[in-house]
Symmetry: C2
Subunit: 251 residues, 2 copies
Amino acid sequence: MRLKLTIAYDGRPYAGYAIQPNGDTIQARLENALAEVLKQPIRVHHAGRTDAGVHAAGQVVHFDAPDGSSMNPYNYLPALNTKLPATIRVMDCEEVAPDFHARFSAIDKTYLYRLSLAPILPPLDAGLAWHLPRQLDPETLQTALGYYVGEHDFRCFAANRGNESEETDYVRRISEAKFVEQADGYLLRFTGDGFLYKMVRLLTGSAVQAAQGRLRLDDLAELVKSPASQARKAPLCAPPDGLTLLQVRYA
Amino acid sequence: MRLKLTIAYDGRPYAGYAIQPNGDTIQARLENALAEVLKQPIRVHHAGRTDAGVHAAGQVVHFDAPDGSSMNPYNYLPALNTKLPATIRVMDCEEVAPDFHARFSAIDKTYLYRLSLAPILPPLDAGLAWHLPRQLDPETLQTALGYYVGEHDFRCFAANRGNESEETDYVRRISEAKFVEQADGYLLRFTGDGFLYKMVRLLTGSAVQAAQGRLRLDDLAELVKSPASQARKAPLCAPPDGLTLLQVRYA
């Protein structure tokens, strides 16, 4: 039986989602909890890797329950949540078709990025927002985000994972890139069929640079419209603090 | 020059406000930052000690700047905040009269206590709310909190600090004990001229017990009205998670 889990986590205490030899990761915590419940090693497959310090409200993973297991999907929630730290919660569990894949079956993903313009960032927001000391112009922010919408070659907004040959197709479709005003700043929202490594943070960093008057809008537009002719890349990667994987949609 | 600082902190990473030999405390962090700024040891005096895991939006402390220091009060904010962890922030600094005392000059203090009835506590709320698995009756909660208002002998709502002779006067005046409904639960609000050790958590725990039908309202009323004749004490101390020192008021 293939099962789909919806996971929420506070990224602050973790070295990122994906398992790694040294470092406390969300995937390792989840696989350990599943192994305890199912009495055998379980490998989970995720919709989107999130970096150290990045949060999730609706990360999705799938795994195959062993043949002998007759556990009801509903029972995984309490079983796993009692074994996970309070900063990682399984919010939902459902049976899916055997060919469902958390990453490859996804239609799109939505990320939120929170900017705080509070004079002093409140302690409870530490690690949950990018604290910007300088005001920014909302109209320029709007224009900058507008450039991102549509199907583009986003090679200027992709960080190198250290293996240059890993990503070859840089074309992604962004269906939504906008913001809403909040009491202390702005909440950016990006929806797309896929995102390159650190792409949301690079899109955010560049839009903020423009909205602070440190990057010309024309120059930003060129990074999206004529990426192959650009020697430059996105000028700033926003910190992980403000980023949350909100949801992953499936057919 | 005597200075008054308003401090906010996330209590989760700390062993409490008050300095102790082993354990990372807010007071130690603050005194270390002040010593760095003022180049000599500084002792701060607080309005209210908060336990491990308890948060503050408006803790108040005072200290005396050394005679030679001509630092403007306004400059303490950036100077201290760059030396403090992001989970502790100095929100305000002002000069006060030489006889001002953070604790003894206070008129009253207000604490908030957050109860969450969410089916699954979201990861970002971990350590910020008391997660109650059972529903509670809001009318009973209201009645229970109403018993607390006024001047009473709160000996049944005082935890022993280990030194029985330390607290002798158990009479305190509570001017406000009420709640507001939130999307996922209730936010309790207590204002009083002073609170005994763990008193807010004992008041909260007992009111919740009543609202869950586990403590008779008459029995709760007796703990407030005839404390001297009671062999029993408050039946439950709420966890530190949901508690925040909101503000301290001065004349």
